[in-house]
């Protein structure tokens, strides 16, 4: 196979775009897709400081590298979940990556804030992943707010977004369908949330990571029950294989024609938002959900005979 642009031997076949690229032309294509996302949806304005959520996976590290090369003022944020072995490994990958590329990094250790995920799993009677997700989002937003970042970027790719949109559509979840997308505007004390990789597939972000020599954290979390949306992703991989281009057409079509319709019918949900009485994060419940989790874990830990 030859590169469509320069005719050198290709390394990246992209049937969805009816093309293939050599590594240099793929790099240009990748940058072009990120630029297009940023331009089309006004993701980052000149002079804004961007906080990038870094899990240690290919998507988040690739996003960080690409945004920094494009000249944006980026800082990484890693939340150390305090899970034995796996959190240490993930954090080491993130720290190594940022040191290697001279990138700024903040690390939040949940153990220091009384909420290591193993304790949440032990003492809180709800699926650990939903609490964990809530805690991570809380800290991304809180650091953004406290340290004056206007933008919060995550590494969600096209496959993540299509699988999520598909799940929301299967449930006709009007609330989610009214605002899913690559840009959620800042409001009520939350920073703007952006997904600059939404036009790029998992295959493309994996190629990018490999071709840029990014060492990634791949070991799954011990609490993971398998990938979220795995079944949907498989379904979409089959669709894309038989009809190349379906994923991006579905997602772009939703942004253009689906979302505005849902946004129109979805009423503003009533509860007023005010700063959390304990940590200052915006909440509609007085004390925010994460502070309440912290209190519950602390109480049960104190009452646990194994911890005396």
């Amino acid at each position: 196979m030859k590169c469509r642009k320069c005719k050198a031997p290709a390394e990246v076949p992209l049937p969805s775009h009816n093309t293939a690229f050599c590594r240099d032309c793929f790099a240009a294509y990748f940058t072009g897709q990120v630029e297009k996302s940023i331009r089309r949806h006004g993701l980052i304005n000149p002079g804004e400081r961007v906080l990038v959520a870094l899990s240690g996976g290919k998507d988040s590290l690739g996003l960080m590298l690409e945004l920094s090369r494009m000249g944006f003022d980026v800082t990484g944020l890693h939340v150390d979940l305090g899970i034995p072995v796996s959190s240490l490994a993930a954090r080491a990958k993130v720290e190594g990556f940022c040191t290697l590329h001279g990138l700024k990094l903040r690390v939040v250790e949940l153990a220091k804030h009384g909420l290591p995920i193993p304790d949440v799993k032990k003492y809180i009677n709800r699926p650990v992943c939903s609490a964990c997700g809530k805690i991570k989002r809380h800290w991304f937003n809180r650091v953004a707010l406290e340290e004056g970042f206007q933008v919060l970027a995550t590494g969600h790719n096209l496959d993540d977004e299509v699988a999520r949109l598909f799940a929301n559509t299967l449930r006709w979840d009007a609330g989610y369908l009214s605002d899913q997308g690559p840009c959620l505007d800042a409001e009520n004390g939350f920073a703007r949330k952006i997904k600059p990789l939404y036009r790029l597939t998992e295959f493309e972000t994996a190629c990018y990571a490999f071709l840029n020599g990014i060492e990634i954290h791949t070991a799954p979390c011990p609490y993971s029950s398998g990938a979220s949306f795995t079944g949907h992703k498989e379904l979409w991989a089959r669709l894309e294989y038989t009809s190349p281009g379906t994923k991006i057409a579905f997602y772009d079509g939703f942004l253009k024609r689906g979302r505005p319709a849902f946004a129109q019918v979805e009423q503003e949900s009533g509860a007023p938002v005010a700063p959390c009485e304990s940590c200052g994060s915006p909440t509609s419940t007085g004390t925010c959900g994460v502070c309440r989790l912290g209190i519950a874990v602390a109480e049960r830990r104190a009452a646990d005979p194994d911890r005396q």
Partner: protein
């Protein structure tokens, strides 16, 4: 003979007969964008010819949580 290492399963397979990357992908039940096909520091496209003694790394891309 070629040796194929599969990630993230950490499985090693060997094949006596070898031809193209496409045939290897078919044997492993992989579509073209399901996995990276790596030889040394290069990515291979489906039409690439495999040679005797090749060590190939298959890196599946679907993220697992």
């Amino acid at each position: 003979m070629i040796t194929v290492f599969i990630e993230p399963d950490n499985e090693t397979l060997t094949f006596e007969r070898h031809n193209t990357v496409l045939m290897l992908q078919r044997k492993l039940n992989l579509r073209v964008n399901d996995a990276l096909v790596i030889r040394g520091d290069k990515l291979l496209t489906p039409d690439c010819q495999l040679k005797d003694g090749d060590e190939i790394r298959i890196r599946k891309v679907m993220s697992t949580g």
